[in-house]
């Protein structure tokens, strides 16, 4: 018999780590919505942002800056790096490939992934760097109800909190600002948006920059969890099933998909894993995504795919 306390603990832990997957998936959704580009480079962007942040932090702290100033300057520096990256990608990779089909664009972002990974590690170093922005110890909740209480990691709570702020911020940005409206117009129809005078290359720069900022946020949380290192780029692959489940074009979908994947894979690992050999976290999300695709090809929140001849 599975204890309710254990189940809740696994569920909460899974949901929280799901939020972290959502953080990466959000970057994908933003770019896919606005330019129809399936951005494989999101994981590399997380690595780049994380490395820029952690290295500048180390440098500033070693120079004797107080921690709060170092954090502000470090985040600013990383944001500038992401802006430069966004500009370069728009100018040299995506811009010249307008009107190519999705596969070519997808491959070009894999090319960009190689460039970003190489450049990030060459400039900022290729070791694993610890990042300590958030507390990583744990809380024990409901100790009166369950023996031993429910273990909740503070970092995960912070991650959820930040993801909430991020989504709210993005929602306001998309719904209330002029650039946000232009973004939604571009997402609906490139050509029509261009014809009413929306500068498309500027919009794409903004989108890639925002995705870069999302990557930076993801990097702060994941960097605290795992340390900033090369393996962080594999997050991009973990975010793909999240997208499939939530739908490529939906911001809430990315969040819900992340929660489902996070909770699902933790529960499967803990309660199913011992029976079939462990390590099923590795593929569970993908098989789950495959199952969702059979029922709803466009994902839970995706727009219905309509085809005409």
């Amino acid at each position: 018999m599975i204890a309710l306390g254990q189940f809740l603990e696994v569920l909460i832990g899974g949901l929280m780590s799901g939020v972290l997957y959502s953080l990466v998936a959000l970057g994908f959704v933003l770019i896919f919505k606005a330019s129809g580009v399936f951005n494989f480079a999101q994981g590399a962007m997380v690595l780049l942002a994380g490395l820029a942040l952690v290295r500048s932090l180390d440098f500033l702290v070693a120079k004797g800056f107080p921690l709060w100033a170092a954090i502000i300057i470090g985040i600013g520096f990383a944001a500038v790096i992401m802006a430069i990256t966004a500009w370069l990608i728009e100018r040299f990779v995506i811009g010249p490939l307008v009107n190519q089909d999705g596969l070519t664009l997808f491959m070009s972002t894999i090319g960009a992934t190689f460039i970003l990974e190489g450049a990030a590690q060459m400039i900022f170093g290729s070791d694993a760097y610890p990042l300590r922005l958030f507390p990583t110890d744990a809380w024990f909740l409901f100790e009166s109800h369950f023996p031993g209480g429910i273990l909740v990691n503070k970092l995960d709570v912070w991650g959820g909190f930040i993801a909430g702020i991020l989504v709210a911020g993005l929602a306001i940005f998309f719904q209330r600002t002029k650039t946000g409206r232009a973004l939604r117009a571009v997402a609906d129809d490139h050509l029509a948006a261009q014809s009413v005078g929306i500068p498309i290359s500027w919009i794409w720069f903004v989108v890639w920059f925002v995705a870069g900022l999302v990557a930076l946020v993801a990097a702060t949380v994941w960097g605290t969890k795992l340390g900033v290192q090369f393996s962080i780029t594999f997050l991009a692959l973990k975010a793909l099933p999240v997208l499939i489940i939530g739908g490529f074009t939906s911001v809430p979908g990315a969040i819900v998909g992340g929660l489902i994947v996070g909770a699902g894979e933790k529960i499967a690992e803990v309660f199913l894993g011992p029976h079939i050999g462990g390590g099923i976290e590795y593929w569970f999300a993908y098989v789950l995504a495959l199952a969702v695709l059979f029922v709803r090809p466009q994902g839970l929140f995706g727009e219905r795919i309509i085809e005409r001849i």
Binding site: G118, G279, W283
Partner: protein, 375 residues
Amino acid sequence: MLYREAGQFKTTYAEDMAIFPIRQDRMALAILLGIASVGVPLLANFHIWPFGSDYLLRAILLPFLILALAAIGVNILVGYCGQISLGSGAFMAIGAYSAYKLGTGVHIPLAWFGFAISIPPLPVLSSILLGGLTAAVAGILFGVPSLRIKGLYLAVATLAAQFFFDWVFLRVSWFTNYAPSGSVNAPTLNFFGLVLDRPIERYLLCLTFVTVFAVLAKNLVRGNLGRQWMAIRDMDIAAELIGIRPLNAKLTAFAVSSFIIGVAGALWAFVYLGSWEPLAFSIDRSLQLLFMVIIGGLGSIMGSFVGAAFILILPIVLNLIPTQLGVPLSTETITHLEFIIFGSLICYLLIKEPHGFARLISIGKEKLRLWPFPY
């Protein structure tokens, strides 16, 4: 001058529909095959430059041939049928591991039913081909989602195959014959009593496989089946309306492609690696194959070869340049530079010629047709 088809009159339908209707194409191909199957072995046998050591043969030509074979398989699926697959590495692994199991003897204890299935070790050739067949079956299974979904969604669905089989071959020790390290050794390459040990013999083996499968694939794609695939690729709904069954077309594409990829995987493991672990067939391999196909040209058998050569040789050249120039760089920096240059070249090629080397070749042919006159 050199490449004129004027005066080559076809007098029968068979001639008109021949696989290479232009005489110069046939000659070029014959010369290429002659060099590959006679020239290279001769040079290698007498250790004449550039075959002074086995390096070129073992580290470049062998992997080139095998990966070109795999790229042909991927091209059938992605280039001809338009179904994007990121799971090619998994199908290579399926081919490799099932060939390994068949080559070393299969024993399935079915304790529930009170008996066990035992197959004695099969000869290498049949285990490689059956390995391909197993991969084809797996390909059909993982091709079923393609009936519902397409494009990048399908790409992610095929990733499921990739990660699932990575895990299976890592964790289920039945596949590795309970080897404690998880790494397995290929059986002796014994073809009808002939043991292939030397690199040159292995090279000829791979060359035979690649030639046979390339001709088969070329004939398949210009026949009825290939036309069905291309119709599905160009627009699946329209293809369905003119009477092509998407189920048949898509699943045969998955089957044929996975079969070829599976055979390539078995060759990769048996002939090139010798002993291997699941890591040899990771997602990186899938991406590498996809790159080969896209850089080489979607929907071109020739392009698969060029793409395979480019993707395989580029990193080797990039690696050699700094040491040749004597630039003092740490190995780490060189690796990172390699990443950057590789990525930039990929992006550059995609921007300059999104249709890959195959398009460049056909443009070159058009130019050659007029040469030395401007028109």
